[in-house]
């Protein structure tokens, strides 16, 4: 690990100031991506801005027909939140399925969504539920937020503050884990919300994406069978020592089917 300056601001405004003043500063939340990168000397920030002291980033609450989750909410808190469990059980279950107990006690939803690892869990929920990403500057719709592998609409001096999830009529999630890393090898989050049906696929491609053919099929007939014969093209999907693009394409259909079954 290279040396860096360490800051622990207590407000979003102060954090943004630190980030704006130094283009080589990096925010840190749970640290599950940044810390290993630092330890392997793959990243050399001049300073690290620790967000764990900012009260405004914490908390989970229901506001009308939305669940608002602070960026620093940990996976464990989301998994165990009575509000989330009641309103979006698939999201609570997803949070409870990430990594292991140590990971869930440190990792945050804001960190995961801002990082946009193609193999992460939350981006699929955010995209499928049509959530709104609230930042220190603006509100960004999920469809505009995710921009491919490790890329989002966030600007360097912009902090993810919270995520607003509309409460869906139904939602379900299923994933196949990478046998080694246990990250998502292919996952599907299906949701029926006021605007219609949305299906987001994670793990399989270079970034989370919507599966429009499945959305159309499920709009017409909300059942596992509706997606059972919809094939995901393998073109552009990830291929590595754990699975070919063809295998991942196949898993997309299997996971979509299971996600619908999971949603009930």
């Amino acid at each position: 690990m290279y040396d860096f300056a360490y800051h622990k601001p207590t407000s979003v405004a102060d954090a943004v100031k630190l980030l704006a003043a130094d283009p080589d500063a990096r925010p840190i939340s749970g640290g599950h991506t940044l810390l290993p990168a630092l330890k392997h000397r793959l990243n050399k920030p001049s300073s690290v801005v620790d967000l764990s002291g900012i009260a405004e980033l914490k908390g989970i609450r229901r506001e009308g027909d939305r669940i608002v989750i602070g960026a620093m909410a940990k996976h464990k808190e989301i998994a165990e939140s009575a509000e989330v469990q009641a309103a979006i059980p698939a999201l609570a279950k997803m949070a409870g399925s990430i990594g292991d107990i140590q990971v869930r006690n440190r990792g945050t939803i804001g960190g995961s969504v801002a990082n946009n690892d193609p193999a992460a869990d939350y981006p699929a929920a955010v995209l499928a539920l049509g959530a709104t990403v609230v930042t220190s500057k603006r509100r960004i719709a999920a469809d505009e937020f995710f921009q491919g592998m490790f890329t989002t609409a966030l600007q360097p001096d912009e902090l993810l503050v919270a995520i607003e999830f509309p409460v869906p009529q139904r939602a379900g999630y299923a994933k196949m884990r990478n046998p080694a890393s246990r990250y998502v090898m292919a996952g599907a989050f299906v949701a029926k919300i006021a605007d219609g049906v949305r299906v987001a696929i994670n793990g399989a491609g270079p970034g989370v994406f919507r599966q429009k053919a499945m959305e159309a099929a499920l709009s017409a007939n909300w059942s596992p069978d509706a997606v059972a014969n919809i094939k995901q093209p393998a073109d552009g999907l990830n291929s590595d020592i754990h699975g070919s693009a063809e295998y991942r394409a196949h898993l997309v259909t299997v996971m979509a089917k299971r996600a619908v079954a999971d949603a009930g």
């Binding site: 196949m176 080694a180 020592i241 754990h242 699975g243 295998y247 196949h250 299997v254």
Partner: protein, 794 residues
């Protein structure tokens, strides 16, 4: 009042004495040791699989803050290369190719991770900072990352003067007899397989500290080793030319080895050499990424085999052609793994009359490959036990019945195989029967049908296996090319008040020796386990011993202790006879009590010990004071544990994921000292066997980059990958060691992989599959299922 102490001897599951230390964080591992004035070494390693080094510029590193020294291969050119401990001869009698294995690269790097330079600084971070400033001018050469690439015409030459990258071309067996048997066969079954390359991944990464006393000229090396005396011999005599009397090697608590910590590694020589040169201690500790690219890997065979059978399914002959990957250099014991630890096991538990095996060992631009839990025997067992299932399918004979027809009968021991080994004992029908009953083999089809109703493909697989361990008779292994003896040493030191210290050349790095060995003493001398301390791992404290590998600690090291106890008892009898005014011949000894036969005259071991150390009333003209005896034990034969493993799997046909849902192991490990420890050893071995069968795979790309270079891509078995492993033992005693023990450390890893794959193939019986390569990953299984469905559709 008589207080009867609980019996803690042979056969009792005494709780492990060492666990309080380990579980409360009080273990003392190499990296926990801090020497005064200690410096830290960082090894700069090659990022290329094969490259010429035109120039190394270390000027900036030398000038970096905190740097004490920077060394490259040029600085170490005068010292020896890392030696190989086993010489194999080619078919034509010529010795194997044995290229120099430099401590730091000399002019060329041959695998990713090959050490190029070492930076020594006052902190690990500063050493690393400085290493980043070293400029190495590499001329990248084409790499041969696989055996196929290394053997291809025009392949890059990894070592100068070694034609075709061939280390040796070896064989065993009478080819003419074998060919004749094949010619007369009613049925010939052929089979090809690749035994996957594995990374051992002990929990504790390797570490080493060199220390040097400038006033006495004594070197000390603290290292993560399974055999400190072997390291002292190899490094002292062959690499650094330090006499034994000036070199102490300490292997303190070691967190797992599985073979990977047997070998003498470059870092040990580097820190020892540098500490003397600098007059300051030098510590090196691997991080996990370094472990992946510098610890010896395991397995990596490609094999073609044929089995000849008569019309009744009786095996007539076996023929095997194997290519074995050595990696870029010869690790300490690498050459013996695919030969004498492999081909000699190809009879397995069967009466195969003739076996011919040839093995080509190949250099590649990969990390050296050496013995990993089981070493050679898992490869032989996997081959045989898959071949038996393939033969069963092709002959239409039930796979259990086919095995039974070919078993060596229980009354045929000692049994001479056609591949050099003579088995002393075993009862394969009984272990099979017990396993079949425990696993409810007969009820399987009902479970398969029930699983099918849940949409799962269920399969069951059996493996009846044997291995050779308790290595080994020194004269035998010497004649086969070993450059070492393989005896073991034990000292029994009875203290004046009757407590005991055991010194052993065996080394415990997870096996529970401190408990098992104490039980041996308690059983024989009647001393409570709590009053028996076991000392190991320090060449300054223990006599010359060979260490722990090949499931040898109890069979060889325990037998040495047994012999030392013989001497203690014999001497004690003389002292007791003197004290009780009886003839020595009339003195009996039983669990701590010397008695004049037929009388109530007794002396306790404590009384005898006190007399021996305070010899006021003592036959001083006849015997020396003290009660402290050492014995060396050289085994008369290998030991031959064996048994039956049965795996039951369920496959999710939608994802291809295989779950092992039931596992039964019935093993004959000889006499069991501590059943709890045996159960743990077998379960640990089975975990690694399931890891090999379903999960683990070290994968190189064509350029020689290790794609599975971290836990993110190398699938270690985890608790939720494993079923409950039912362990039972069915004992026949070893006939040639005094304890009747065979060894249990490797049976789990040897017996289980073919049981699992046989179950996977059985689960896929409707998909026209005769074999599934390891690891049976979801991707691979789905590919088979998908291809099967496509075929069915067409």
């Amino acid at each position: 009042m008589n207080v009867v102490a609980p019996f803690e001897g042979i056969g009792v599951s005494v709780k492990r004495k060492e666990d309080l230390r380990f579980l409360s964080g009080r273990g003392q591992y190499t990296d926990d040791i801090v020497r005064p004035g200690q410096t830290y070494a960082y090894i700069l390693r090659s990022p290329h699989a094969h490259a010429r080094i035109n120039r190394i510029d270390t000027a900036a590193a030398q000038a970096s803050p905190g740097v004490v020294a920077v060394y490259t291969g040029a600085d170490l050119a005068a010292i020896g290369g890392l030696p190989c401990g086993w010489q194999i001869h080619n078919k034509d009698g010529s010795p194997m190719a044995e290229p120099k294995h430099p401590v730091l690269a000399e002019g060329k790097v041959r695998h990713v991770g090959d050490p190029v330079a070492v930076v020594i600084a006052d902190s690990r971070e500063r050493a690393k900072d400085a290493a980043e400033t070293i400029l190495v001018d590499y001329e990248v050469l084409p790499a041969a990352a696989t055996m196929q690439a290394a053997l291809a015409p025009g392949a890059p030459a990894i070592h100068d003067g070694i034609a075709g990258n061939l280390c040796y071309d070896w064989h065993i067996g009478d080819k003419a007899v074998n060919d004749a048997a094949f010619a007369a066969a009613a049925k010939v079954v052929t089979f090809e397989t690749t035994n996957n390359r594995l990374v051992p991944n002990a929990m504790e990464p390797r570490a080493a500290i060199g220390d040097y006393d400038t006033t006495t000229g004594e070197h000390t090396l603290f290292t993560t080793s399974q055999n400190p005396h072997v390291i002292r011999l190899l490094m002292g005599a062959f690499v650094l030319q330090i006499p034994e009397s000036k070199l102490r090697v300490v292997a303190p608590d070691v967190g797992g080895g599985f073979g990977s910590k047997i070998y003498h590694y470059a870092e040990e020589a580097i820190v020892t050499w540098a500490a003397a040169r600098l007059g300051r201690p030098v510590k090196w500790t691997a991080d996990r990424s370094e472990s992946f690219m510098s610890d010896a890997h395991g397995r990596d065979h490609v094999t073609k085999a044929s089995l000849a059978l008569d019309a009744n399914g009786k095996i007539l002959a076996l023929r095997v052609h194997t290519q074995a990957n050595m990696g870029a250099y010869l690790s300490t014991f690498a050459p013996c793994v695919p030969t004498y630890l492999y081909a000699t096991l190809l009879a397995g538990v069967y009466t195969t009359p003739t076996i011919y095996c040839e093995v080509k060992a190949v250099f590649t631009n990969t990390v050296p490959v050496d013995a990993y839990r089981g070493a050679g025997r898992p490869e032989a067992t996997f081959l045989l036990e898959r071949l038996m299932d393939v033969a069963a399918k092709e002959t239409g004979i039930d796979r259990v019945e086919l095995r039974r027809r070919n078993f060596i009968p229980a009354d045929a021991f000692p049994y001479q195989t056609p591949v050099a080994l003579q088995y002393d004992s075993g009862d394969y029908q009984s272990t099979l029967d017990e396993a079949l009953a425990t696993a409810d083999w007969a009820g399987f089809e009902a479970r398969r049908a029930e699983a099918a109703r849940r949409g799962k493909l269920r399969g069951i697989g059996v493996s009846t296996y044997l291995e050779a361990c308790g290595i080994a008779p020194s004269a035998v292994v010497g004649s086969l090319g070993a450059r070492a003896g393989l005896y073991e040493v034990g000292t029994i030191r009875v203290h004046p008040t009757g407590s005991v210290t055991v010194l052993t050349g065996a080394h415990s790095h997870g096996q529970g020796h401190e408990t098992t060995f104490a039980q041996l003493v308690s059983d024989r001398l009647g001393v409570p386990v709590a009053q028996v301390d076991v000392v190991h791992g320090d060449t300054a404290k223990i006599p010359f011993g060979m260490g722990t590998y090949g499931s040898r600690s109890l069979a060889v090291g325990g037998s040495a202790m047994f012999k030392a106890m013989d001497k203690i008892i014999a001497k004690g009898k003389k002292i007791a006879a003197h004290l009780m005014e009886a003839s020595v011949d009339d003195v009996e000894f039983d669990r701590g009590t010397f008695r004049v036969a037929g009388t109530d005259k007794t002396k306790s071991l404590g009384e005898i010990a006190l007399t021996a150390y305070v010899p006021h009333n003592y036959p001083i003209e006849e015997i020396e004071p003290g009660l402290d005896e050492t014995a060396f034990y050289d085994p008369k034969n290998f030991t031959y544990p064996g048994g039956c493993h049965i795996a039951e799997v369920e496959i999710d046909p939608d994802t291809g994921r295989v779950a092992v849902v039931q596992f039964t192991a019935v093993d004959d490990v000889g006499r069991v000292i501590n059943p709890m420890i045996v159960e743990g050893q077998v379960q640990g071995g089975v975990a690694q066997g399931i890891g090999q069968a379903l999960l683990e795979h070290a994968v190189y790309d064509t350029n020689g980059q290790l794609l599975s270079g971290s836990m993110m891509d190398y699938t270690m078995p985890r608790a939720d990958d494993l079923p409950n492993v039912g362990v039972a033992t069915h004992t026949t005693l070893c006939t040639h060691n005094p304890l009747g023990v065979k060894g249990c450390g490797e049976v789990g890893a040897i017996g289980s992989p073919p049981a699992v794959i046989n179950a996977v193939v059985d689960a896929l019986r409707d998909y026209g599959v005769s074999h599934v390569e390891m690891p049976a990953t979801p991707d691979r299984i789905w590919g088979i299922i998908n291809a099967g469905r496509k075929m069915a559709a067409e």
